[in-house]
């Protein structure tokens, strides 16, 4: 489903330093697979997710999503992005739109669905994430957990083939993390292809098919959750896990 081959990405910081965020990064993710990416801060996790839908341009290498090369000369990035849902750490809901409008807007504008059809799909999804009763309020009136569930519904409304989660629960108060993780677990069980960057090891243990440990822009170790939590191989992985577990 997602195929990244020998991807390089270097940032130039405002003070002209070079930061190698991805170095010869190769990863293949199958359809229906739930992959959890862990790693220390600055290891390139977000950068990789953002390269998958071309929010960042890569310097070298190749990324294909569902067989489509992101950087082919004829690639229509808007079309490709329709198939890739993304959930951000800070939700990024549209504050001037109601919950309902947040979920229907892209359906109407991008998928060209009728108002009625978009509303039906939105209502079903808002019900699924347990927030249908708030459909007419503005995001600022919701708690963090509620906002993030709306953001997930907004992404799902495009009926994407892949969902990317970038620390979807990191900005939440502890008592709200569970409600968002529950939604993500349901999605995983339904067979959605998911790439999840998270510090929630419970989630990784419960639903991940594969865990990837990244450091300094590279994949250091990859394996089942079981492998990771019982006998990780690399010293770097052991150190990281001992710090967060």
């Amino acid at each position: 489903m997602i195929d990244a081959q020998n991807v390089y990405k270097t940032f130039i910081t405002p003070d002209k330093r070079k930061v190698e965020a991805l170095v010869d990064f190769t990863l293949h993710i199958d359809r229906g697979e739930v992959v959890v990416i862990i790693g220390p801060s600055g290891s390139g996790k977000s950068t990789f997710l953002r390269c998958i839908n071309r929010l960042e341009e890569i310097d070298k290498g190749k990324i294909t999503v569902d067989g489509q090369d992101l950087h082919a000369p004829k690639a229509n990035i808007n079309k490709i992005r329709e198939e890739i849902g993304m959930v951000f750490q800070h939700f990024n809901l549209f504050p001037h739109k109601t919950v309902m409008e947040n979920v229907t807007l892209a359906q109407e504008v991008v998928r060209r669905r009728s108002k009625k059809e978009a509303a039906e799909i939105a209502e079903a999804l808002l019900k699924k994430v347990g927030i249908l009763d708030k459909k007419d309020v503005y995001p600022s009136q919701l708690s963090g957990g509620q906002q993030q569930r709306v953001a997930i519904a907004r992404a799902l409304a495009m009926q994407p083939k892949v969902m990317l989660f970038d620390e979807a629960t990191s900005a939440l108060d502890p008592e709200m993390i569970g409600e968002v993780l529950d939604v993500m677990k349901t999605l995983a069980r339904e067979g959605m292809t998911m790439v999840v960057v998270t510090h929630e090891m419970g989630f990784a243990r419960e639903v991940a098919d594969r865990v990837i440990f990244m450091d300094a822009g590279r994949v250091v170790e990859t394996g089942t959750p079981e492998h990771f939590f019982t006998n990780p191989e690399h010293e770097r992985t052991k150190l990281f896990l001992s710090q967060i577990l």
Binding site: R81, N92, H96, L105
Partner: protein, 265 residues
């Protein structure tokens, strides 16, 4: 309404101003005999506009005619200034170096030269070449001038919207222009209403400069009325009052719009 520090300052200012008035007109012995009764006919009058008109009736006086023209040229210029400002504001944020360069040059050029000079250039040079009427030349000069300022306001407004908004919109498959139209501009608009209102108030006042190309706006008519009646104070105070009515109305309207748009906060 609460008595704030600002109202305290207002009271002090009013006090000082009225004292200065008193000082110069009374104590210093400048004798000025007021002829306020002469003013109303410059607003409305009952009579014949031309000697061969069949019957007398009510007509707008010179100041009212000037007010109408000032309103007209201001409304036209505000509309074009918004269009120019939107284009320039977005162009200045473009990734395309040429677009960015041209729009930056426009802003610097217009902001770096006086409006009065621009009006002369547009009227005498471009206006003559293109056979523009004085009104068209005046409106063009005002639109181009204010458009540069509106462009800067629009640019700052767009930049003030968190970049996560654009990313969220794009990640849903929206194109750049769809994201601009549905997500960024509506949010930016809400933030730029106060500075935009300030700019349009400036525009109404700046429009008085078009009187130099013999456009019969409020200022021009006031000058004529003074030349005719010699009641400079009364006429200019009245003209100032009329400008104030326009700017104050605009101010009130924007406050109303701002309150209406605050619902999603």
């Amino acid at each position: 309404m609460k008595f704030t520090r600002r109202s305290a300052i207002t009271v002090v200012v009013l006090f000082v101003v009225s004292y200065l008035f008193y000082y110069f007109f009374m104590r210093k012995g400048i004798t000025y005999s007021w002829h306020w009764y002469d003013v109303p006919k410059y607003l409305f009058y009952y009579g014949k506009r031309f000697t061969d008109e069949p019957a007398p009736s009510w007509h707008m006086g010179a100041l009212m005619l000037g007010l109408v023209l000032t309103l007209k040229i201001s409304v036209v210029s505000i509309i074009f200034a918004i269009i120019i400002g939107l284009i320039v504001g977005i162009a200045r944020l473009s990734d395309e170096p040429i677009t960015k360069f041209i729009s930056s040059c426009y802003v610097e050029l217009i902001r770096g030269t006086p409006l009065l000079v621009q009006i002369y250039i547009i009227y005498f040079f471009i206006g003559t070449m293109l056979r523009l009427s004085a009104f068209a030349a005046g409106a063009a000069a005002l639109s181009i001038f204010e458009g540069a300022y509106v462009g800067e306001i629009v640019r700052a407004g767009i930049q003030s919207i968190h970049k996560g908004q654009m990313e969220a919109a794009r990640s849903l498959g929206m194109s750049y222009s769809q994201a601009m139209r549905h997500i960024i501009l509506p949010q930016a608009l809400k933030r730029i209403i106060p500075p935009l209102a300030g700019q349009f108030i400036s525009l109404i006042k700046d429009s008085s400069l078009v009187s130099v190309i013999a456009l019969a706006d409020l200022t021009f008519r006031a000058q004529q009325a003074v030349a005719q009646s010699l009641n400079a104070f009364e006429i200019y105070f009245t003209a100032a009052g009329l400008y104030l009515v326009m700017t104050f109305t605009l101010s009130m309207v924007t406050q109303y719009v701002e309150r209406r748009m605050a619902v999603s906060d």
